[in-house]
Amino acid sequence: MANVTVAERRPPDTTGTRRGLSLWQNMHRHFWGYVFIAPWVVLYIVFGLYPLVLSFYLTFFDYSFVAPESRAFVGVGNWLKGILDPLFWKSLFNIVYNQAIFIVLKNGLGLLTAVLVFRATWGGRIFRTIYFLPVLTSTMVLMIVGGYLASPTGPVQSMLVNAGITDGPVFWTFNRWLPMPILALINTWKWFGISFVILLAGLYSISPDLYDAASIDGAGEWASFRYITLPQLRPQLFFLLVVDIINGLQMFTEVFALFDLYGGADNQALTPVLYLYAQAFDRSNMGYASTLGLLLAILIGVITVLQFRFVSAGSD
C-alpha cells in the first residue's frame, strides 16, 4: 500500500554512519531521538491503541457509562443487532446517496475551476483566493447560512419561484428524498476549494512538453485533456477520492444542526454517525454504539483497501 512505498522511497541515510561519531555519541543521539518521538508514542498508546482495544471489548457488552455496574455480557448480540438493524441500513443508504452526489460534484467543480484558473492568463491569484474562502467556514456557520439560503422563505427559493422553476415554497427538510442532495450541494460549496487547490498544483506539475508534442500531432483541446491532463492528475484524483470517502461516510455535524437525533420523522437525514451518537448519548447504549462504529470503520476500511487494489491493478 501507499504507506509502504513512502517508507521505501526514503533517500539513502547517511546521517548515522559517519565515522567521526563514537559509539557514545551515537547512543546520545539515539536517546534524543526517543525523547522527541516519545510524546506521540505515549499519546497514541493511551488515546489510540487503548481505545481501539476497548472499543472491540465494549461491543460484547450491554454497557451504559452512567450505570457501569449494570454491565451485562451479550456475546455477539450487538453485532447481530447491528447487522439486522433497518435504521442502520437506512443511515448507510442515506450517506451513500449523499456522498455519491457530493463526491462527483465537489471534484468535478474542483477540476473545472482548476483547469479554468490554469488557463487564465491574468487574475488567477484573485480567483484562487476567492475559491478557497468557503473552506475556512465552520460546518456550523455553513449550516446556518446554507440552511437559511435554502429555507422555504429564503432567497434561493424566492428566486426559483420568480423564475418559474418551482411553484411555491418547498419544505425540503421534511421530504424523504430532498435533504441528502441539498446537503450535498451545500457541502460542495464549502469543500470544492480543496479539490481545486490540489488539482491546480497538479496541473502546474505537468510538463508543458507533453502538450506541445500533442499539438504537433494535431490533438485538439478535448483530446489533450482526455489523454494528457486526466491521466497526469491521477495521483491527485485518487488521493481526493480516498480521503473524501473516509471523511464523507462519517458526516455528522451537518445533519445534527438541521435535524433531530434520528434525522427527522422519516429518518430522511439519518447518517451512521448520527445514529451512533443517538444510540450512545440518547439511549445510553455504549456497547451498541461501539459496534456501529466498528461496523462503519470496517466498511470504510474495505472500501479503502479496494480502492488501493483497483488503482495498483490499473497502473500495472
Binding site: 504507506n3 517508507a7 561519531l21 506521540w40 456550523m140 487547490v197 476500511g301
Partner: protein, 286 residues
C-alpha cells in the same frame, strides 16, 4: 495555445480577444459570484433590520443597523465564547506544532533504531477512520473524569500523525550537512532543533500552525461531546444554541454572530495565504 500559433501574424493589425478567453473568464466570474454570494449575504444581513430579513429576504437593507453586533454580545456572551475558543485553539496550536515538529525532526534526521518501523506504523494509522475512537475515547475520558474539561480536547490533539508527516516531508529536504555541522560544533540535538531546524522549517511550521488553528476553531463535534457546561462553550457551540433560540425579530444577531466567528480565520488566511495554499498543494500518496 494551438489556435494562436496557427494564425498568420501579419494579417491581424488589432489582436482580437479569442472566444476561449471570454468563455474562461465568464465561467470564472460566475463561479466567483456563486462562491461569494453567501458571504455577501451574511455580511448584508448582519446590518439589516431583523424584520426585513424575515419579510424581504432578497432586498437590500433600507437602513444600516449595528444592533446585531451589540445584541450578540449581550445575549450570547460572545466575549466568553471567543475567550474559550481562543484558549483551546491556541493551546492546541502551540503544543501540537511543537511536539509534532520534534517528532518530525527525530524521524527526518536522527537515525535511531526502530525509526523506520515507527514511521511506517504512523502512516498506517492515518488510514483508520476517526469514528472508531469516538465511543471508547469518550468512555476513557469519562472514567478519567476529564469530561467537561479543556484537556479532554487538548491532550489527544497535542501531537498528530498528519502534521508529523507534513513537517517530516519538509525537514527531509534540509541538507544533512547543516545538521552535521551543528553536531561537530558539540551542540546537542535539542539545541540543533531549536537553533537550526526551527528557523529553516518556518514555512512548514506556519502551515501546520494554521491548520491546527483552523481545525480547532471550527471543531464542533469535540466540544459538543466534552464541554457540557455553558461556561466552557466555544463559539461553535454558542452558534448551535443561538440558532435554535433567537427570535425572528432579532434575526440580524445570528448573522452578526456567524460573521464574527468566520472573521478570525479569514483575516489569518489573507495574512498567510501563500503558506495556507502550500498546506494543501502536493498532497498525494506518491
Amino acid at each position: 495555445m494551438s489556435e494562436i500559433s496557427a494564425k498568420p501574424v501579419l494579417t491581424q493589425p488589432r489582436r482580437r480577444i479569442p472566444w476561449s478567453t471570454i468563455i474562461i473568464y465568464a465561467l470564472l466570474l460566475i463561479g466567483a459570484i456563486v462562491v461569494l454570494y453567501p458571504f455577501i449575504y451574511m455580511l448584508m444581513n448582519s446590518v439589516k433590520p431583523g424584520r426585513e430579513i424575515l419579510h424581504q429576504p432578497t432586498s437590500l437593507p433600507s437602513e444600516i443597523t449595528f444592533s446585531g453586533y451589540t445584541g450578540v454580545f449581550e445575549r450570547l456572551n460572545m466575549g466568553l465564547l471567543f475567550r474559550n475558543s481562543l484558549i483551546l485553539a491556541i493551546s492546541i496550536t502551540v503544543l501540537n506544532t511543537l511536539l509534532s515538529s520534534l517528532a518530525a525532526y527525530a524521524i527526518a534526521k536522527i537515525p535511531f533504531p526502530g525509526r523506520n518501523f515507527i514511521f511506517s506504523f504512523m502512516l498506517a494509522t492515518m488510514m483508520i477512520p476517526g469514528i472508531l475512537f469516538l465511543i471508547p475515547t469518550y468512555v476513557l475520558m469519562f472514567n478519567l473524569g476529564w469530561v467537561g474539561q479543556y484537556h479532554a480536547l487538548i491532550v489527544p490533539a497535542a501531537v498528530t500523525v498528519f502534521n508529523i508527516f507534513l513537517l517530516r516531508q519538509f525537514m527531509v529536504t534540509i541538507p544533512n550537512e547543516v545538521v552535521e555541522a551543528g553536531r561537530l560544533d558539540g551542540a546537542n540535538e535539542l539545541t540543533i532543533f531549536l537553533r537550526i531546524i526551527m528557523p529553516l522549517a518556518r514555512p512548514a511550521l506556519a502551515t501546520v500552525a494554521i491548520l491546527n488553528f483552523m481545525a480547532s476553531w471550527n471543531d464542533f463535534f469535540g466540544p459538543l461531546l466534552y464541554l457540557n457546561t455553558p461556561d466552557k462553550w466555544t463559539v461553535q457551540l454558542g452558534l448551535l444554541q443561538f440558532q435554535s433560540s433567537v427570535p425572528g425579530e432579532n434575526a440580524q444577531q445570528i448573522w452578526a454572530a456567524t460573521t464574527l466567528v468566520t472573521l478570525p480565520l479569514v483575516l489569518i488566511f489573507f495574512l498567510l495565504q501563500d503558506q495556507f495554499m502550500k498546506a494543501f498543494a502536493n498532497v498525494t500518496f506518491k
